[in-house]
Symmetry: C2
């Protein structure tokens, strides 16, 4: 199954465009988990068990895992082992390096960890992102318009009367010969999201910034989906996984995730 098919398939099966960001911070998880050998693995396991039928994807920001030092490798591996294979997994790495280094990152994230897809930064150009675009069943989300305040520093600069991010999108369209590229567009940027969707009617869009960052859910659905009301992968992290800091955290995460999924589906019914 290709990467694009996999996204559609799980979005239909679980009736969900929701992606949960497993950006698990040891300082924010319930104390009761500290009796487990690896509290982060146990936290992630319970969140996954409680939500795996109502999401299309899980995203792990590798900054949270690499900062664990020597446990990083096994914590990522074990977390991914709990995720059903039909669900998309995104290694949020935002890498970008010259050819031979990019190959090593691709080997780690896609081959060794076995993420379905990863995020990459476009600043170093074609040979820095192509190693992540090798096979149709693996995907890559290139940073286009990010959700953070600093996005405006570079991404909005005018190049031949268009913002820089539109040039990035033009490049990604050119590079997309294996039909496995997507884009990252922040939910905090509804106007840009609409413009991006017009430029790439069929590409998957990974949309972070809902919840803690204040992005608008309604416009994420309205402007982020393709014509079938699919192919938007809407990420929520902290607002879901830290919905409660007591023993009921997994059930609380499910409640918030279910509410988000249903709200997304209500907007899908309205607009598609």
């Amino acid at each position: 199954m290709t990467f694009y098919q996999k996204i559609r398939s799980v979005q239909r099966k679980n009736k969900s465009l929701l992606c949960i960001g497993l950006d698990t911070d040891i300082s924010k998880i319930p104390e009761s988990l500290f009796s487990h050998g690896d509290p982060i693995v146990e936290f992630n396991r319970r969140i996954i068990e409680a939500t795996k039928d109502i999401v299309c994807a899980y995203k792990l920001n590798l900054a949270f895992y690499e900062s664990l030092g020597e446990h990083s490798w096994s914590t990522v591996h074990r977390t991914l082992s709990f995720i059903p294979t039909e669900i998309v997994t995104v290694g949020d790495a935002k890498r970008g390096d010259i050819g031979n280094s990019a190959q090593m990152y691709a080997k780690l994230i896609v081959d060794d960890y076995n993420f379905t897809a990863c995020t990459v930064s476009p600043y170093m150009g074609e040979d820095s992102v192509k190693p992540f675009m090798r096979n149709r069943n693996e995907g890559v989300f290139v940073l286009a318009v990010t959700s953070n305040p600093g996005a405006k520093d570079l991404q909005y600069l005018r190049v031949r009367n268009r913002p820089l991010y539109e040039h990035v999108i033009g490049l990604v369209k050119k590079w997309n010969s294996k039909n496995n590229c997507g884009l990252v567009v922040g939910a905090t940027r509804p106007t840009e999201l609409k413009r991006v969707r017009a430029l790439v009617p069929e590409m998957p869009l990974l949309i972070p910034g809902i919840g803690a960052q204040g992005g608008n859910l309604k416009s994420a659905v309205r402007f982020g989906c393709d014509m079938h009301g699919e192919m938007a992968i809407i990420n929520a992290g902290r607002s879901v996984i830290y919905a409660s800091n007591s023993e009921d955290f997994a059930q609380a995460a499910r409640t918030v995730a279910m509410k988000l999924r249903d709200e997304i589906n209500m907007y899908r019914l309205e607009f598609f």
Copy 2:
């Protein structure tokens, strides 16, 4: 000692602008090392022992280490433990992420690994790089003009009649309130290097691309140095560490490194 002072100090002490890129690939090191518990650590140890009096810096591209999986953490730690404290160490990570994730990367690379400096990507703007610019005794090299072919895809786009990388440099000058920022400019880009040095007369420039990538050493020195013939950190990787694949590899690396250092110093005498 501030980051800028540390660079000048070791460049004077070791009479060297040379940085060795310890991008050690397990498939390229002598077989005799495989009897050691960690062959990469042993390889790096011997290269460091053989060259530490003739370099100003060592640079580790983290792609090579992360791909080691669970050994990554200890291999980086042990490698750094062999490097004298007066020498600059660069964690070549090219990270860039939203605020809280960037903080975690900074914690890992600068606090936990204890690199003197790291490389970052500017695409996500101020809040993605500021967490790496916390203290005057730690440094950050922001990607400006990279040495790879794909550099032209984005970095040379014209924004208000100037290439994008000049806007990046303008931003870095603005962000440099702690006087601890530098820039990455590839040795394969002599014209751009000259222009960059004119824009930032005093910033350190990390200059990769000598050797295997074909960058010109003479112009790296002529255009990369500040007015004192310093503050250029000229990186050579594969051409030094794989100078020989036999048991004499460390001595061979020293011979090549010495030749590079001396050639650099000859150009310094000529131009400064």
